[in-house]
Assembly symmetry: C2
Homo-oligomer: 254 residues x 2
DNA sequence: GCAAAAGTGTTTGCCTTACACCCATGA
DNA sequence: TCATGGGTGTAAGGCAAACACTTTTGC
């Protein structure tokens, strides 16, 4: 007969790899705004790994689901609201945390805004949005985060890095999943505000997928997935661009 | 300062949704063998849910990863060896297990053979391979397992069923992931033996994806992903079929 | 020869790509 | 007017569906 006391139990954490699109003002009134992919990291204020970057996350509490853990910790540590969560995997290597037996359920989390709450009641020293870029060549992969952190991977495995715990590995796995979901399931729309111009999509889309095509062909490829709103963005010094919304699933085949 | 005693800890289980392809002998010496998708379920020998079907699975032990838990339990309960494991998600609803606070990391698991070990040192009454079929129409989905169990879903949520725990929900999520991985990442090969004829692929492939095409066009679509072995299957009463292997990733673009 | 499947070639239509072109707007 | 992006049209190439056809084998 099973009794719940018969097994040792690990501490369970949720960690989130949060991506967002940052919009920088254009260089001139003519050119497009610069839209770049960012990742949210926490500068750790406590041991272990004090002062190093880590993913936002925290411990599962009794009475909540692991998704609620992720949402709560994101709000507390960074002010990120209503993220889109996608479960990644459970990281459970026995030596992954020097504090003891702690496993972590990792999530890919997307937000439509990169603003940070300033008065976050935080148990971490501070949350920062950092530039994110990914490159691969053969069996080697490189991720650059912010201006100072470079992560290397060989055959899909993280090499020792400046990041806390096994978070370098989690970040890679999350980005590859993001790329896959953008490619096959239009996840790009979960990184965008509700209404947007076609050209707002292209930079984020192509920096995630690592592709490039002309604005004309990008338009034709993406238009079947969009619905016109009739509104226009008139802020730029050229022809105003129509704002679109994501087309509802049921209407795709019409 | 963090202390590991500061948080309550849940019991952590791993559950696996195991799919395999069963090969039934052909009706005559002329026709093809019947290949059907099967799912491995356990008839529970203990409370709760005694006598009902559940997924194979068990509890995480100290010193092992959650993947090792899944592999160990599969071997113990069903004799399945060397499954391909794909992490699905963590199921953590607070009332999902009447025994208490138990969360489960669910895996999609694929095996190349549907044979069962007969002398499994089992803590379950018995493992069975059951026919699996999936249908969807609008927001309703139906999964049929074996001859007796039918599962219903509305808007992606499992309706009450004869399965133990929340396993009806897990099975649906697993099958949709299977379909997605077969479509986008050629996961079908993890359900096949190392060497196989082109026609061996088509039935499983199309029953998972819910599509149908001619044998000729299926061949042309799949051949770029295959390598000839030079061996032939001469058992049937018609032209012998060449056996192929999965082409290595690096050779795909040649 | 006949049934059944293995395997090849051809046609057609669609979808992507490259690129020429016009439109709208503010400086 | 000019620079810049918004937006449309068209022609070429590649891919997939439909299907006609040949090959191989056991009965």
């Amino acid at each position: 007969m099973y009794t719940i006391e018969a097994f040792d139990r690990p501490s369970v954490a949720a960690d989130a790899v949060v991506f967002g699109i940052d919009t920088a003002p254009p260089e001139s009134k003519y050119s497009l705004a610069q839209r770049t992919l960012k990742i949210l990291l926490i500068r750790r204020g406590e041991e272990p790994f004090k002062g190093q970057y880590s993913l936002p996350g925290g411990f599962l509490r009794k009475g909540e689901t692991i998704e609620q853990t992720a949402v709560r910790e994101l709000r507390e540590e960074s002010g990120v609201q209503e993220p889109k969560l996608i479960p990644l995997k459970v990281y459970s290597a026995v030596d992954r945390d020097p504090r003891g037996w702690i496993i972590s359920a990792a999530f890919l989390a997307l937000t439509r805004t990169v603003l940070l709450s300033t008065d976050a009641q935080s148990d971490a020293a501070g949350a920062e949005w950092l530039n994110f870029s990914y490159e691969s060549e053969g069996s080697s992969e490189t991720i650059t985060v912010g201006d100072t952190v470079t992560l290397h991977y060989e055959n899909g495995t993280a090499q020792p890095s400046d990041l806390a715990f096994d978070h370098a590995q989690i970040i890679r796995d999350a980005f590859l999943r993001l790329r896959d979901e953008v490619l096959h399931h239009d996840l790009i729309f979960d990184l965008m505000p509700e209404k947007f111009a076609v050209s707002d999509l292209q930079q984020p889309y192509e920096s995630i997928l690592g592709t490039h095509t002309s604005p004309q062909n990008f338009r034709k490829k993406i238009l079947p997935k969009l619905t016109e709103t009739g509104e226009y963005d008139k802020t730029a010094a050229h022809r105003a661009s129509m704002l679109y919304m994501r087309k509802r699933e049921e209407d795709q085949n019409r």
